[in-house]
């Protein structure tokens, strides 16, 4: 189930919303950021050159000394390489220490050491320097050897550094760039084929960084008149990360484009600074990534009728049971100039929801991730809104781990604001609907009763419109094991802001009772026939036991580099339109 869900997460993505509105700003950088394109992490180039390289990598990984050596070596260089391999320090980082699975290590350079690098007592020898790059750990090991005296002079390991890449990798990076549809579309022609015809076009390979992924990246850059197209290529995963134009005129400061700049600027300009409108399959709404309340949808209409004013996740609380008071209260949101502790690093995605071969709705999703996820004490949260063709709506969320331990409980605080000032909130009790007359909260558990359809609450206006609410108890076939939610109903005030705008963190990490934040807005005010706000706090316990993983993630090695397997714990209620149901 989890795998199929993941599959749908990764591959059923139908389209990405490009922020294609023409900017009214004359700021070139803003316009370039808006026009930039990010490619999904799951896309990798697969033309023959790449497949051939992956084959060579896999063949190398099973060798006794798994070092990919593709640069042409003359006799002396070969001698230097053989000598370096005898050094314990030089081959120290070839395998994962515990599992003994090989990392991808590649010999980038073997060259005669520069005179100033050679120690005095080796001045009469032939000293070579070797540079070995470990893709999985993003570290460089250098060795200096003297092939006359057969001496290993020095070995150094530098974390977080990357040597100059060899020519064949430069060529590969350019191939990845020029074969990608994004580059071809941006340039208006396929570079390489028509370069000869374009006298004013130059191609250069610029340095860049993939700061977040810590991968080896370079940027083939195509210059046309006073503009340059940066194509950031990830040589660890053999993929295009994205593209962005910059201006190169004499008045312009040369701006280096990196993975972080590409992603952050795009997300900030397109999804944090402005609302995006979506009209699809009878649903119509706006969405925006907030500074601290995750992805917020607003003015949600179904068949042209306003049904939800806004929905969002205010906080993520995570507490660990073995240490009293230990945990975090995370706001999620925009990557910069925000109060978010866990930030958006990808664009919102829209994908179809299928029931077999039949499309029954669509989902809008957004991930928020710590920079070092999935390392311990780093987090990745998924927010997912589901819109069904029959008018049902679900707000779901998941933790993708990994957190600080295997005894954590995640408590996301969802907030829903409804239209109409004549709403009434009811609970199914003793086979009938009981109206809540004042603001209050309730804990759901296994003993809470529900209608035969599984509805436990409903919100309804005087015209009988509204939603029945079906909390998740594992019935949605997404791997979710139940929400056990705290549910709060408060009155929406026109004269004071209790969350219509962005809320700062409203509750501490580690309360295990109803005190998750929304209770601050409960003042026993009457709520019958009024504007109502619903707060819904799921409780998901993580699990790292083999075969039972939940709210968890694991790193594993594939082709010698780290990949991540996730075990999401999806929670969140389904809202079922009342008019479609024959409720008791």
């Amino acid at each position: 189930m989890q795998n199929s869900f993941l599959y749908s997460l990764l591959f059923v993505t139908l389209f990405l919303f490009a922020c294609q509105e023409n900017s009214t700003s004359h700021d070139d950088e803003k316009e370039n950021a808006i026009a930039s394109i990010l490619t999904p992490d799951s896309t990798a180039a697969s033309f023959p050159l790449i497949l051939e390289r992956i084959k060579k990598i896999d063949e190398t990984l099973v060798q006794q000394i798994p070092i990919l050596a593709l640069i042409p070596l003359d006799e002396e260089q070969q001698q230097a390489f053989q000598l370096a391999k005898q050094s314990k320090d030089f081959i120290e980082n070839l395998y994962h220490e515990q599992s003994k699975v090989a990392y991808r290590n590649e010999l980038f350079n073997v060259y005669k050491a520069r005179p100033q690098e050679i120690p005095a007592n080796f001045s009469k020898g032939k000293v070579y320097k070797l540079e070995l790059y470990n893709y999985a750990l993003n570290l460089t090991t250098t060795a200096m050897v003297d092939i006359v005296s057969n001496t290993i002079i020095q070995v150094q390991t530098l974390k977080g550094t990357q040597p100059d890449i060899p020519t064949y990798l430069k060529d590969l990076a350019i191939q990845i760039a020029i074969q990608s549809p994004e580059v071809i579309n941006a340039l208006g022609y396929k570079p390489g084929e028509q370069d000869a015809l374009m006298a004013n076009t130059k191609t250069a390979l610029n340095e860049t960084r993939c700061e977040r992924s810590q991968h080896l990246c370079v940027a083939p850059t195509f210059t046309i008149k006073d503009k340059a197209l940066w194509a950031i290529v990830d040589l660890t995963d053999h993929r295009l990360v994205g593209i962005r134009w910059t201006h190169t005129g004499p008045e312009q400061t040369a701006k280096r484009i990196s993975e972080k700049r590409l992603k952050f600027d795009k997300i900030m300009e397109c999804y944090c600074q402005k609302m995006t409108h979506l009209n699809k399959d009878n649903w119509d709404f706006d969405y925006v990534i907030t500074t601290s309340d995750g992805l917020r949808i607003s003015s949600v209409k179904y068949q042209e009728q306003l049904v939800i004013t806004s929905a969002k996740i205010v906080d993520w609380h995570v507490s660990y049971s073995n240490t009293d008071g230990f945990g975090y209260s995370d706001a999620v949101g925009c990557p910069e100039f925000s109060q978010a502790a866990v930030v958006a690093i990808s664009e919102p995605r829209v994908s179809d929801i299928m029931d077999g071969n039949q499309k029954i709705g669509f989902a809008l999703e957004q991930n928020f991730s710590s920079e070092q996820w999935p390392q311990p004490c780093n987090y990745n949260y998924l927010q997912r809104f589901e819109f069904y063709a029959d008018g049902r709506f679900r707000s779901a969320c998941a933790s993708l781990g990994r957190g600080c331990g295997n005894n954590g409980t995640y408590r996301p605080v969802m907030r829903f604001s409804f239209p109409d000032n004549d709403n009434t909130f009811s609970e199914w009790l003793s086979n009938s609907w009981k109206v809540w007359t004042t603001e209050q909260w309730k804990l759901q558990n296994e003993n809470t009763t529900a209608t035969p359809e599984g509805y436990r609450y409903k919100i309804e206006n005087k015209r009988g419109q509204g939603f029945a609410i079906e909390p998740n108890h594992g019935q949605f076939n997404d791997g979710g094991r139940g929400d056990f939610p705290y549910l709060y109903v408060t009155k929406l005030h026109a004269d004071k802001d209790e969350g219509e705008n962005d809320l700062v963190t409203i509750g501490p990490c580690c309360n295990t009772d109803y005190q998750q934040g929304p209770e601050k807005f409960i003042e026993q005010e009457p709520i019958e026939n009024s504007n109502i706000v619903l707060w819904y706090v799921c409780q998901m316990k993580n699990d790292d036991r083999k075969g039972n993983e939940y709210c968890w993630s694991e790193s594993y090695l594939e082709h010698g580099v780290y990949k991540t397997k996730v075990y999401p714990c999806l929670g969140g209620p389904m809202f079922v339109p009342l008019k479609k149901q024959n409720l008791p």
Partner: protein
Amino acid sequence: MKKLVASLSFFLFIFSLIACEEKIDEDELAQIGSNNCRQIAPFVSHTPINPIRAAFSSDAQGIKGIELIQLPLHEHDSIIRYHHPSWVKYGYMGSVVTDDKGNAYTFPIPFVNTLNQTFEEINSIYKIDANTAEMSRYLKLPKQDSTQGIVPYGLLGIYFDCHGKILYAASVSGSTRDKENGTIYAIDYNTKEIVDTYHGIDAFGLCVGGVTGQKRLFFGSGRNASIYSLELSKKGKFKGKHQLELNLDNLGPRGDDKARKIRFDKSNNMIIHGIEFNYSLAAPSIKPETVYKFGYNFEKKQWVLMELH
């Protein structure tokens, strides 16, 4: 004739102003920044910490406030820690500087969230009294008119200048993504009087130095990888506009570090502690920091990267 007299008077007035400004001689300049006047607080001798190896810390993961730690002599020695009850009352704190009497100054920073501080409180300096060890609010800096869209930070840097006996504090309170609205304050540490302000820049990590031939306040930008400086008078007031000194762009593992801390070593090399900073509350479990060492080339009037680790 009247016009001539008026003009002469005006020039005489300007000349007298210039002539009155105290000069800083070369030896004095060379000492600025590298000469440490800071004193160990008398209260330390009443704690379990050895005063000779004592240092303030606000870096410990998950620890609110300030700690006094005893630096270990050997690699495997454990660190001895002490905190006065008042040091944990005001939430998470940023860097700590001490003055020539042993008083320490620090400022609140949000960590992961803003539960511990309000916008009202965050733009403040706190002081640890050298004699009593009591920490209390020392100075509340001016608050902003609006909280709409502003960054969740107050101060980002603090520095005590031994030469001018001035406490410098850099605040980004009131800055937004679209408007760089930070202020550098020069504060008389005895009277708490704000003697000068420099407005319109988000500064991060402050240090006063004289290595370039002028007394200057060096600081990193919160917005990019640049290091700027601003000329100071002998008494520590701001003169003129800030200028670019160097850039950390494309250096180090991240390539766009912001200068969390700047100091000068005994040889007047500039030591910069660079971290990632994006005006969010993202707090990675391992906060990578790179230390950059720059030397000053007097002939070319340029900073030269000597090493980074």
